[in-house]
């Protein structure tokens, strides 16, 4: 994985949300030297032209709210943030935490170190994405288990069969209809709630 992450660094889209001063110039020049696709904008616009993988953000109290708004709506998942800071006081660190920065560059910015921060931030973002996808899959599976359990109980009560037979029945039905076991379970639950509802329930 690590080699792949290095290899396609040139396909990475980076938004540079930093004032166009000397530090901003060093950042933009170095990103272009590395060969990334860049989009620079300051003050933070309402929207970006590209959907960036990463955003290099000059941490700035006045622009903070606008940056946060921009990041939230720019792409899904939100771009990985590399924060550029000039102070290390708690007020500044609070903004860095709110940005959920994956890497930090300190001012005055030097060319050296930008590549490393870029690689780290990108690797963290890819990992976070993979974990989020895994969590979504697991949550869906757990929800599925719950539905299957509930549907089994409905079948057991309705047909007077044991748990194993209820499961076999559901699986046979799911296969015959070419749907997943979870979908079959949801169909049973929905049908049951419809059949057992009475007018005065509504």
């Amino acid at each position: 994985m690590s080699r792949g992450l290095l290899r396609d660094l040139r396909d990475v889209a980076v938004a540079v949300l930093h004032p166009p001063d000397a530090d901003g110039g060093v950042i933009l020049d170095q990103l272009n030297r590395i060969g990334c696709r860049t989009e620079a904008a300051w003050p933070p616009p309402r929207s970006l032209q590209t959907a960036p993988d990463l955003a290099v953000v000059g941490v700035d109290r006045d622009a903070h709210a606008a940056v946060m708004r921009l990041l939230r709506k720019s792409a899904q998942p939100t771009p990985g943030v590399i924060a550029v800071v000039d102070y290390e006081n708690p007020a500044m660190l609070q903004l860095v935490l709110e940005l959920e920065a994956l890497a930090v560059i300190s001012k005055p910015v030097r060319s050296f170190g930008i590549l490393t921060n870029l690689v780290i931030a990108r690797s963290q973002r890819v990992k976070a994405e993979e974990q989020a996808a895994r969590i979504r899959r697991l949550e869906a599976r757990i929800a599925g288990f719950r539905s299957v359990d509930k549907a089994k109980k409905i079948l057991m009560d309705a047909q007077g069969i044991d748990e194993q037979d209820a499961y076999r029945t559901m699986r046979a039905q799911a296969m015959a209809k070419r749907i997943s076991l979870e979908e079959m379970a949801l169909a049973i639950i929905n049908a049951h709630s419809l059949l057992s509802s009475r007018i005065d329930d509504a």
Partner: protein
């Protein structure tokens, strides 16, 4: 020249002794000759240029101390450094004191400093050319051996990735101490014999190269099928090891002393008249030479010699170098160069077997070289 003006003092920081003196001596000679040419043509803005010498002894700590000494004495611009470890030691001092370093040596890339001009080849201007040539002409199995420091690590990383992406195989990757013993070298030779047939890609430097090639010669490997390809084996190294040990081995570089142009003939004649009939001239020598002329061009454009003015005028500076017209790329501070591949002859020179059809822009941040993404002109051997 107006004798009333004080001379402009330029630093030349090379190793007169130590591991890599064999090539660095030629770089010092090249800088000296270029400065003499500039003075003969009227100097820098009418002022005489004089060289303040620093001696690195192939030792990074010593190089740093020498750079400190030169800069503290009022020198602003330094030409010098060979090994990456030495450049890395010198550059922070140069940046801190707002000086300017001209680095005349091929290296592994992944660097930019607003206070440095890199006039040697970046990997896209030599490594991929050498790898491609060896893959097409000799085979697909590679054995990587290098001196134990940063240039060989990254050079081998590029080589391995490139060879594998072209369907080749790297059978082994070995590192020798900077000063290897005979036993260290014998072990690697034995290992190569076990893996034969295999081509060797060597990134040993300086005296280690001489010892390694001689041992390879004694081992009797057939160089028509098992040549050593190396970026760090130029004419000075060939001269040191002798033609018998050198013949048939390969390198890629922007410059060879055998280039057939009138411009190069003038350069070679002048160099040999100044430094002796047998004086070896490598790509690093030539880079040391033309970068002084690039500096002079920037001074002429700036109309001043202070570092800030010179730096502002460096991008785009061009010079008709012995290898062909070269130019400083303002974006990367590296140089647009002419890649070539050469095979060593028994005379201790390189016969050019392939050369770029056009100058190639530097790509110091190349991570993943694309196979054959360039135009080359193969020459009959």
């Amino acid at each position: 020249m107006r004798p009333t003006d004080s001379p402009i003092r330029l630093g030349a920081l090379f190793s007169d002794s130590g591991l890599t003196a064999v090539v660095e001596r030629t770089q010092r000679q090249a800088v000296t000759m270029a400065v003499e040419e500039i003075n003969a043509a009227g100097g820098l803005l009418g002022r005489e240029a004089v060289i303040e010498a620093g001696n690195s002894l192939s030792d990074p700590a010593r190089a740093r101390a020498e750079a400190e000494r030169l800069l503290a004495s009022g020198v602003e611009t330094i030409f010098g450094c060979y090994m990456s470890s030495t450049r890395r030691a010198v550059l922070p001092v140069v940046e801190q004191r707002r000086g300017l370093l001209f680095y005349p040596t091929l290296y592994e890339g992944f660097e930019y400093s607003s206070h440095c001009i890199y006039s040697g080849a970046a990997p896209n201007q030599n490594s991929v050319w050498l790898a491609d040539h060896m893959l097409r002409r000799y085979g697909t199995r590679f054995y990587l051996v290098g001196s134990n420091y940063v240039f060989p690590y990254e050079s081998n990383r590029i080589m391995r990735d490139y060879v594998q992406s072209c369907g080749g195989v790297v059978v082994e990757e070995r590192y020798l101490p900077l000063h290897p013993s005979d036993e260290d070298i014998a072990r690697v030779i034995g290992d190569i014999r076990r893996h034969a047939p295999v081509m060797v890609f060597s990134t040993t430097v300086g005296d280690a190269t001489t010892a390694f090639y001689r041992a390879y010669d004694r081992a009797g490997f057939d160089r028509s099928t098992m040549p050593i390809g190396s970026l760090t084996t130029g004419e000075p190294e060939l001269a040191a090891m002798g033609g018998d040990a050198a013949e048939g081995h390969l390198t890629a570089a922007p410059y060879f002393s055998t280039i057939g142009s009138p411009r190069n003939a003038r350069f070679v004649a002048a160099f040999r008249a100044r430094w002796g009939e047998d004086a070896p001239i490598s790509a690093n020598t030539e880079a040391a030479y033309f970068q002084v002329h690039l500096y002079a061009e920037a001074v002429a454009r700036a109309g001043a010699t202070d570092v800030a003015s010179v730096r502002a005028n460096l991008p785009g500076c061009a010079y008709d170098a012995p290898q062909g017209p070269v130019r400083i790329d303002g974006r990367t501070h590296h140089t647009v160069l002419w890649p070539r591949v050469g095979v060593a002859t028994a005379r201790g020179e390189f016969a050019i077997v392939e050369e770029a059809a056009a100058a190639v822009a530097p790509d110091p941040y190349m991570i993943d070289p694309e196979p054959r993404a360039w135009g080359a002109r193969a020459l009959a051997i």
